[in-house]
Subunit: 67 residues, 6 copies
């Protein structure tokens, strides 16, 4: 009966990537914890880059200097 | 002082339905736990159906075969 | 497929009260949103009263003056 | 290694306000808990006013009568 | 910069199982989303079985009849 | 009406530190967003160090090598 919530910055995560995350995490729950996949829920929240802060700064600012 | 967070798939939940959820949950907190409604917060998050996984698959895929 | 998380102060919530909350919220999801109870998860987190703040003060402090 | 999640009603929070929240909260974690800012994450979720309930009513309704 | 929160029933999850979950989920974030493991946080919350509800019933009740 | 949830490793956070976090975050909400402190809730979750992962490893492991 696990519930897994992923918070990730909203940077063009594709439908296929989401499917892979859901599949991979569900498989982990089955293999490591012997959970039933039919009661395993995975929810992905995509967070705008202005709304995520790290080291005291918005990720939208951090990104500018990463390139 | 309860805080209740509802995660639900984003499938045209109406304003009236949201009001009923907020009202019903707040009433439960008052009746069951004797809480003050003025400090009872309810927050509804609507999750895109590509972002919710069950049984290792995206809900957008599951929906196709439910009909 | 809703997931509902309740945060409530840890003040001797009984097993029966928890059961009533789970039952009542699940019924709301069925009646208001037509959800399947078998995919409706409710998780209750009990928070120590030192760890909950309101109006800028710990609830353990607020409680002292409520009586 | 703290992670801080802010839920706030979606009422035109500006980029500058978000930056101030991220900066202020990160500073608190450093000053009060001696945390490393480089592992301090702050995530802001803006919630539509129809989706936030207080006192059993939607905030969109409460707002009408506040003016 | 993902943050992943796992809610799982508190049923003797071992230290080794927790390590496998953390490792497996972090690897997924790197492989699927190309994330930096050094900003990937995984937090596991173990929920007492009286506090988790499914199908309108406490998991502690459901468990009795599963055997 | 903000709700703020802090997840922090469980490493002897004192009552005074919790009070400072609650006070500081509430003040930020008032100063930056003009929020009412009486509807500002802060909830602190202390997470066992075996249950927090960073860089794919449990924090309890990381700590051993930090000294």
């Amino acid at each position: 009966m696990p519930y897994i919530n992923i918070k990730v910055t909203d940077e063009l995560v594709t439908r296929e990537q989401k499917q892979k995350l859901i599949e991979g995490i569900t498989r982990l729950m089955v293999e490591v914890l012997n959970k039933n996949p039919d009661t395993t829920h995975v929810v992905i929240d995509e967070v705008p880059i202005d709304n995520w802060g790290l080291s005291g700064r918005q990720y939208s600012e951090i990104k500018k200097y990463k390139k």
